[in-house]
């Protein structure tokens, strides 16, 4: 260790620079360790889940003898083998780890096979349809059907301001519509995995690919009927999470741990990709019904909307997902009178869960789709209509949930983007192209966004960290956040290095571990760097203060290199490690009234997309995208750019090729692997992709005035969907409203084109 000490204030900044991901050099050589790469302890057994072959049914029996007789099988576990609570629901306790008397979806875990090899475990578990005896019950498979039956996983939620009905009735124009927005599979490349090792004195050490080690600790402790201090959960990194490992790593964590403790042997449960799709939920698909009243400029005067989410069979995180959907229906727009009704429909499908944006994208999508209709119906530029509705700075600046928008930059940001992307000029060029092109039609779409940052539940907005300085001057950081590729550990290391005036290579960040930092929140809601960066900064700051105090008493060390200073401080018995804690200030939230200040600040962004659509086949291609996105004062521009671009393509996939199809009678998810569920490939990345950071200090006192970046940019690719719709609309008359549903697969586009032709293609506002 030979790190020169520089005064913290005079040091070369370690934040604000484009440093590579802390594990990049390992990723590219296959040396980054994921859970399945940990060398197995001798005696390790392998587990596989036996899944319900029915979408709904009364469970009568499981032929355990047949399973026990399969080659290599060591044990078979059912619900009766769970010593503690058979539940892994994160909020509502309605989520059995293994089914007891009823199965609620096709794929629901019913039993666990533990065998001498993973292959033998999977082969035995695949006998599920032969060994599970169940009496079929009629399934409810769509959100619309469940809504019609008023069948919900949590009570309906309502967010209202003013008198929407009266405002709509009095408005010069009115439009009514419905719209369907599909769900989305996280498709983390590393599937769900847990590896449980029983330890001395009735304790267990669980390696789990999870965004929420503390919750895994709780779920495992409950399942075993143990105190929390007997369960240790560790996660060095995930091969992607995207929300899918926030709550739904729990069933695998619990199963591996229960089996390991019962058998007294290490048990690994790595789920095959098809089973991962069939067992776990994903982004909620939404159905929307809405009525909006607006003026001649397209200004919304009143809006009423039903948001019906397919929650799946249990509550999971559906209530907070719906809360965030309701709190993002406004997106960047002032809605004077609004009545929003959120329904979490209970269906016999996988329980839907967190996915990047957590309902926010679905809420914002509704208002964008509606504004697109308003602009088309009025024959006005969609940009102008959006600008007319933007939140104001002094007036028209209160959200429907009562938070004042204090940091609004949307006007300036959008103005810069449309200037740099040459919106008006390209609008004309697209029109010219379309006039001369009988088969292919181009379209342009624009999407502004505002996204609230913080957990909607105030008390989750806290974090802890530990910083150790060893006697050679090397620094080790541990914090409560988890690394899933988003670069959190890189950013936290940068913060600590910066605080201590050290180069980045002097600082290592280690695996998240419930034995180190306790009571952590999920790494979710884009808050990872905000919370853990601040906590680590606080710990580093404490250390710096101690060293400064030491130096003021021992000025002879002022010019010493860092390792010598550390040595001297150690010899003088200065504590060279510290904890740090952070709680986001100023947040409050009334869960019943859906009012308060749930967000510390807002992130902003905007995108323009250009597509070409084949009007014969419905195929499309994104030709160009221009993005300007607000990350405040970036901690690491390379990582932030990566988040924005990655979110763009991920959201583009959601709205175009990523279609989820359940069999309409059996409830079997037919799209249960990458062969059938199509996320974007390199060819789907727009050939012209201009992404820029809108750099300005975050007015809120965030970590180095940066802004969260994980989720907000998932809204940017709405511009792609709007551009496809624009291209479809070019085949109709002015004022036509193409009934394009999402995802805009070739078939969905063809249906919208056909509907325009069939309707005579024109629809005018009443």
């Amino acid at each position: 260790m030979n790190v020169p000490r520089e005064s913290a204030l005079a040091a070369t900044p370690q934040v604000g620079i484009a440093l590579p991901h802390e594990s990049a050099h390992l990723h590219v050589r296959g040396q980054a360790t994921y859970i399945d790469d940990i060398p197995e302890v001798a005696g390790t057994l392998h587990a596989a889940v036996g899944c319900s072959p029915l979408a709904h049914g009364r469970l009568l029996a499981v032929d355990l003898d047949l399973l026990q007789a399969q080659p290599g099988v060591v044990a078979v576990l059912t619900a009766a083998d769970i010593p503690g609570s058979n539940d892994c629901g994160p909020i509502v306790r309605d989520d059995p780890i293994l089914a007891e008397d009823t199965v609620h979806f096709l794929g629901q875990p019913v039993f666990l096979v533990v065998a001498t090899s993973r292959d033998l475990a999977r082969r035995a578990a695949a006998r599920a349809k032969d060994v599970i005896r169940a009496e079929p019950l009629p399934p409810v498979l769509t959100a619309r059907e469940a809504h019609a039956r008023q069948q919900y996983v949590v009570p309906p939620m309502h967010l209202a301001r003013g008198d929407a009905a009266a405002a709509i009735a009095a408005a010069p124009h009115k439009l009514t519509g419905s719209f369907s927005l599909g769900g989305q599979e996280q498709f983390y490349l590393e599937g769900q995995i847990s590896y449980a090792l029983p330890q001395e004195d009735a304790t267990v050490h669980l390696h789990c690919s999870t965004q929420h080690p503390t919750e895994m600790q709780h779920v495992v402790a409950h399942a075993l009927g143990w105190a929390q201090h007997r369960v240790q959960v560790t996660c060095r990194r995930m091969g992607g999470g995207f929300g899918g490992k926030e709550s739904q790593s729990a069933v695998f964590a619990a199963l591996a741990s229960v089996a390991a403790v019962k058998l007294g042997r290490p048990v690994k449960l790595r789920v095959d990709r098809d089973d991962d799709f069939l067992i776990t939920g994903r982004r909620h698909g939404f159905e929307f019904d809405w009525t909006v009243g607006f003026d001649d400029d397209g200004r919304i005067l009143g809006v009423e909307a039903d948001l019906i989410a397919n929650a799946g069979c249990t509550a999971d995180l559906s209530a907070p997902v719906m809360t965030r959907a309701l709190c993002h229906f406004d997106n960047a727009y002032w809605l004077p009178h609004v009545a929003l009704h959120g329904y979490c429909a209970k269906t016999n499908t996988q329980s839907n869960t967190a996915f990047r944006g957590f309902g926010g994208p679905q809420g914002a999508f509704a208002v964008e789709r509606l504004l697109d209709d308003i602009a088309r119906a009025l024959g006005r530029d969609p940009l102008a209509v959006r600008q007319a509705n933007f939140y104001g700075r002094a007036k028209r600046n209160v959200t429907p949930y009562g938070q004042v928008v204090e940091d609004n930059v949307i006007d300036d940001l959008v103005a810069r983007l449309v200037r740099d992307a040459r919106w008006a000029e390209r609008r004309a060029a697209v029109n010219t192209f379309n006039a001369g092109s009988p088969v292919l039609k181009k379209g342009l779409g624009l999407m502004p966004l505002k996204f609230g940052i913080s957990f909607n539940v105030a008390h989750f907005n806290q974090a802890g960290a530990l910083v150790h300085v060893y006697t050679d001057g090397s620094v080790l950081v541990n914090h409560g956040g988890t690394e899933m590729g988003q670069g959190l550990n890189t950013k936290v290391a940068q913060v600590v290095a910066h605080e201590l005036g050290l180069p980045l290579h002097a600082v290592r960040v280690t695996a998240t571990d419930t034995h180190k930092v306790a009571n952590t929140s999920a790494t979710a809601a884009s808050t990872g760097s905000d919370l853990n960066g601040k906590a680590a900064q606080a710990a580093a700051r404490t250390l710096r203060q101690r060293l400064d105090a030491f130096l003021s008493e021992h000025p002879q060390h002022a010019a010493a290199p860092w390792p010598a200073l550390v040595q001297a401080a150690y010899a003088a018995r200065v504590q060279l490690w510290s904890d740090g804690f952070y709680a986001t200030p100023g947040l409050h939230w009334d869960r019943d009234k859906l009012q308060g200040r749930p967000f510390f600040y807002f992130a902003y962004g905007a995108a323009v997309a250009e597509v070409v659509v084949d009007t014969l086949t419905g195929e499309h291609r994104v030709l160009r995208a221009d993005v300007l996105h607000d990350v405040g004062r970036s901690l690491n521009p390379a990582i932030d750019l990566g988040q924005i671009e990655g979110a763009f393509i991920q959201g583009q996939g959601w709205l175009t090729s990523e279609e989820l199809v359940w069999h309409p009678q059996t409830g079997m998810l037919a799209t249960h692997a990458p062969s059938t569920y199509k996320i974007p490939t390199a060819n789907d990345c727009p050939p012209v992709f201009n992404v820029a950071l809108y750099e300005a200090d975050n007015p809120a006192d965030s970590i180095h005035r940066s802004k969260a970046v994980g989720e907000p940019p998932i809204l940017l690719p709405f511009s792609v969907f709007l551009a496809i719709r624009d291209a479809v609309a070019s085949t109709g008359e002015s004022g036509c409203l193409p009934p394009l549903q999402a995802p805009a697969t070739p078939e969905a586009v063809m249906e919208a084109l056909a509907a325009l032709r069939a309707s005579g293609s024109s629809a005018s506002p009443t």
Partner: protein, 495 residues
């Protein structure tokens, strides 16, 4: 035992040394061997079905010139015995200063890192096989079999461009690999046998090296599973747990892969890799380039064979529609006896065909069309790359002036088998190639097929888009003012 085959361990080259494996079932995948037996966990499992590319590795074959040709394959689909006599290279085997991993770090090409080893291997293979820098589009095509959920691909494409500007070190085990591969050439043809703990029975793998021995092995063991690229049979083992007690591999027979042209007929050995077979077809029929690119991913095209695609006979196997439109014939062989059949008529029902037990699909004969024939191949799917077709078609008309003298229209995805559209063909034949004729053919398509609804498309969509593709064909080939592909296909539009 087929003559000349010797029961012995599997022998292949890894990191410049010969590795011997015995005792594992023949269906053990290369990925399982790497991760569970060799302790090489750099290669990842993302999907276990050849669609995500996280397990991409290179397999090397020694050519007659004494150099190793490396190609990417999906380690999750390849059975370990298929490595016999060949070389394996993974992400962990690249030299420390290789330009692919280095460029990926410098251009921020990894986030979660789980797909990254697969990308690095695909980039390294491209770097090895293509000396001059590819275009952005060619890079994306080369990476079509690698899924990334984090980056959005831009930085990976940047890395792919940038690696060509970095110094390229010699891969350090090249000489040793060549020497070891030469040593393996002296091994007798492989007969492999090991107990399978899943069945309690023996798991066997036979790899004859001559055409006659192959035909003999198949005829002797009519109950055996004939294995070519295992891009489908790999799934029978991995996902469906079908018992596969005896595999006869075609992969060790060099003559089975030959592609030759004689007197206007392209002869494609049934064991020719899809990559090579399609390259030969596209060389003669350039408008099929995109169709060939959309046929699976590079690793699947490297392993999979055109013969396997036809013999498997999926209703949406993308080779058959085009080959039917070309009036291709297939040659079958049983022991020493050969018979030739038109491909049209080979399929008798869903996943059923005229091939008898013990009979091998031997060769594909493709008559190359003359200048009067217009031919196109189109595919529709939710994603451009590596997606199973909702429908795929081969469309051909032969024109005498403006009159259609012959028409061959074949669709996959419209029926239980790939099949020709006789009514549409009848509506075209003898008619002027005009919009009225097109309309008549489109209308006739309705009686040619009764497609089904599934996850890839509804029956109505399939009928509508089949007509749309016929219209696109007309627009591109009509005598009067034909449209360029840049006016009819979104992937041909310049950005």
């Amino acid at each position: 035992m087929t003559e000349g085959l010797t029961e012995r361990p599997i022998r292949f080259v890894h990191r410049g040394a010969i590795v011997e494996v015995a005792g594992l079932p023949a269906t053990t995948t290369v990925l399982a061997w790497l991760r569970e037996h060799a302790g090489r966990t750099g290669t990842k499992e993302g999907c276990n079905e050849g669609d995500c590319g996280a397990c991409t590795v290179m397999v090397g074959d020694l050519d007659d010139g004494g150099t190793v040709r490396w190609r990417t394959v999906n380690a999750c689909l390849q059975f370990l015995p298929t490595l016999d006599g060949r070389a394996l290279r993974t992400v962990e085997d690249l030299p420390a200063d290789h330009p692919a991993p280095r460029a990926m770090v410098e251009h921020h090409g990894s986030q979660c890192g789980f797909c990254t080893p697969g990308f690095v291997v695909s980039l390294a293979a491209l770097h090895a096989n293509r000396p001059d820098p590819p275009s952005r589009r060619e890079l994306a095509d080369a990476l079509a079999g690698n899924l990334c959920r984090c980056t959005g691909y831009r930085p990976i494409l940047d890395a792919g461009e940038a690696m060509y500007a970095l110094p390229a070190p010699a891969v350090n085990d090249d000489d040793a690999t060549v020497a070891a591969l030469q040593t393996l050439r002296a091994d007798p043809p492989l007969a492999y046998r090991a107990p399978d703990p899943a069945t309690g029975a023996d798991s066997r793998f036979l790899a004859p090296r001559s055409l006659d021995a192959l035909a003999d092995a198949a005829a002797t063991h009519p109950q055996a599973t004939v294995l070519a690229g295992s891009t489908d049979i790999g799934l029978w083992a991995n996902k469906q747990f079908r018992p596969l007690p005896l595999l006869i591999s075609v992969g060790a027979v060099p003559g089975f892969k030959a592609i030759t042209e004689t007197e206007g007929v392209l002869h494609i050995g049934a064991g020719a890799a899809l990559e090579d077979a399609w390259a030969a077809l596209v060389a003669h029929l350039p408008p099929m380039r995109d169709y060939a690119l959309r046929f699976a991913s590079p690793p699947v095209r490297h392993a999979g064979t055109m013969g396997g695609n036809l013999a498997n006979g999926s209703p949406i196997g993308d080779s058959a529609p085009v080959l039917m439109a070309l009036d291709a014939r297939i040659v079958l062989r049983h022991g020493g006896a050969e018979r030739t059949l038109p491909l049209d008529g080979f399929y008798t029902g869903y996943m059923k065909n005229l091939r008898q037990p013990g009979e091998l699909l031997w060769r594909i004969e493709v008559p190359l069309p003359g200048p009067a024939t217009r031919l196109r191949a189109y595919k529709l799917s939710k994603r451009f790359d590596c997606d199973i077709s909702a429908l795929a078609c081969g469309l051909a008309v032969t024109l005498d002036g403006e009159r259609v003298t012959a028409a061959r229209v074949a669709f996959g995805g419209m029926a239980a088998t790939v099949a020709r559209a006789r009514a549409a063909e009848a509506a075209l034949t003898g008619q002027p190639w005009t919009e009225a004729t097109l309309e008549a053919a489109c209308s006739a398509l309705g009686s040619d097929y009764t497609p089904m609804t599934d996850l890839r498309g509804s029956a109505g969509y399939r009928v509508r888009s089949a007509r749309a593709l016929l219209r696109r064909f007309w627009l591109e080939t009509r005598p009067d003012a034909p449209l360029a592909p840049s006016a009819t296909q979104v992937w041909e539009v310049p950005a």
